[in-house]
Amino acid sequence: MHPILGRLGRLASYLAVWTVAAVLMAGALTRLDLAWAEALAFLVPLFVVYAFACLSAWYVCRAFPLRGDRLLLVLTSCGLAALTASAVWIVVARAWIAVLGSTPAFAAASTRYDQQLPLLFVAGVLLFLLASAVHYALLALEAVRNAERQRFELEGLTREAELRALRAQLNPHFLYNSLNSISALTAVDPAGARRMCLLLGDFLRSTLSVSGQEQIRLADELALADRFLGIEQIRFGARLQVERRIDPSAAECRVPPLILQPLVENAVVHGIAGLVEGGVIRLDIARRNGSLSIAIENPRDGDEPAAVTRGTGLNNVRRRLAVMFGPDARLETHVEPGSFRAQLELPWSAND
């Protein structure tokens, strides 16, 4: 069924346009032979009927899509359809003339009506062709809209997949090193080995469970980071120390899962691990003018150039923020010879 038939408002305005056309045509006919009343009585019902007939152009247009290499076919089919539709219309018109002629008011006019039929046939063909043109235009518009919607949908899906991949990006070397630590502990400190197994299990489980979610509580993200740091503290011993300054009201704030984790990991891998004596990682979390502010600072070896590999982790965080918050979130980094600081700003949201 033609899409316009399902919508009353559009159908009404469509018929109104045809009525106007009928009035214009009637005006033309008054110049020839007919009186206004006769012309209107004759044309308006016919035009309304023809309005519905012209909707059939939709099927023609869909059956013969407008393509450069099939222009002749399109023109022929539209032309034939127009001739047929107009011919049928003329038959209807003759019947309508007969009906009108049987009434006393229009009895005298019937022969004059007959004389207008060739003109009406030409008008019918032209109107049908016009309707075809409009349909082609509308179909093209619809195709463009569909393509755009598909593109948006695709973009959304791509982003989603990307997010999933980014979250899954857990460093396998972290696992290998942790397992090596456990291997060492089994001989010298079995209780420590067990503690590390539990920490590792908890860390992996919570990483997997949060990664399916859009947003998690900051408290949960921090618990994850704490487990990670707990494991790394067993590995690095006294070289790794952590100082936390966390605004308690921030616990309920919503954050994307694993947004903090890559920054904490960087602080260990590119900061502490490069220092013979190790150092302190400072985690500072505060609520500031409607946004959540997270700062992670770590000491680093000033002789080393700022690590190149660090860039991928940071870029992933930046891209995720851009996808989720647009300009409302940002990640800034400050590199000093002996320290590195990542400053993360997120919109504050603590609903439900």
């Binding site: 090596n180 630590s181 502990l185 590995r235 690095f236 490069g274 013979v276 002789d303 150039p305």
Partner: protein, 253 residues
């Protein structure tokens, strides 16, 4: 020599993590005729240990503070056999290029370490030497040019930033890095050094000299029509015909 005729193997463990050293120590304790002569928590300690204690074998981590495993190998590899012990498999190719005895991936079993030790013994029996050339090339980090030069001075290691080098001079089997009036000798060829440095910055102006362009003030002709490079500190270096052509090409004269 021990009773069954096997040489006692003297080993140094180099890893920045206590637990990583602990597991190696534990495994080695089970092996006969292996003596742990040193445990080092970073590359500098390793270089010092090699110079002072002359171990037969290093069990060497790759990612460590200050000096990584390959840099340690660059400094001491001629004196000691090396087994790499790391969580990263991506260095394996490089490790075998520099003729490491073996490459252990953490975590590993006691049997795996025993097999690696056996290989080390076997190789020590054949008296294999590590090719010097391969060492210098792989010590370079990544594909880019090196940013620092490591020079061993007995148990000490000098880390020279490339920008602080005035020029490099070939001296028999050694090269001499000249930095702000100080000289550092390293057993390497000038061609190797040249290959590891950015050619837009260091130019071979003479068979025996590689010059940091930042130090060049001007080129003069002396009384015998020889070209002389005048350095910013007033020093003078000979410029060969080919060297002058290379200089001109880079400076666009």
């Amino acid at each position: 020599m021990t009773s069954d005729g096997r040489q006692r193997l003297r080993v140094a463990i180099v890893d920045d993590e206590d637990l990583a050293r602990a597991v190696v120590r534990e495994y080695l304790a089970e092996l006969p005729d292996v003596e742990i002569v040193a445990e080092c928590a970073n590359g500098f300690e390793a270089v010092k240990a090699v110079a002072e204690l002359r171990p037969d074998l290093l069990l060497l981590d790759v990612q460590m503070p200050k000096l990584n495993g390959f840099e340690v190998l660059d400094l001491v590899g001629r004196d000691v056999a090396v087994i790499f012990v790391t969580a990263f498999d991506r260095y394996a190719l490089r490790a075998f290029e520099v003729h490491a005895v073996d490459y252990l991936l953490k975590p590993f079993s006691a049997e795996r370490l025993a097999a690696a030790i056996a290989r080390a013994r076997e190789r020590a029996g054949r008296g294999d030497k590590i090719p010097v050339q391969a060492l210098a090339e792989t010590a370079r980090t990544g594909q880019g040019f090196t940013g620092r030069i490591l020079v061993r001075d007995g148990p000490r290691v000098h880390v020279i930033a490339v920008a602080s080098i005035d020029y490099v001079q070939a001296q028999d089997d050694y090269v001499c890095f000249r930095c702000a009036g100080k000289d550092y000798l390293k057993e390497q060829t000038l061609a190797d050094v040249e290959a590891s440095l950015d050619p837009a910055r260091f130019v071979r102006i003479h068979r025996s000299y590689l010059l940091n362009l930042d130090r060049l003030a001007r080129v003069e002709l002396d009384a015998r029509e020889n070209r002389i490079a005048i350095l910013t500190d007033g020093g003078r270096l000979p410029v060969s015909r080919a060297g002058y052509a290379r200089l001109s090409a880079i400076l666009g004269e």
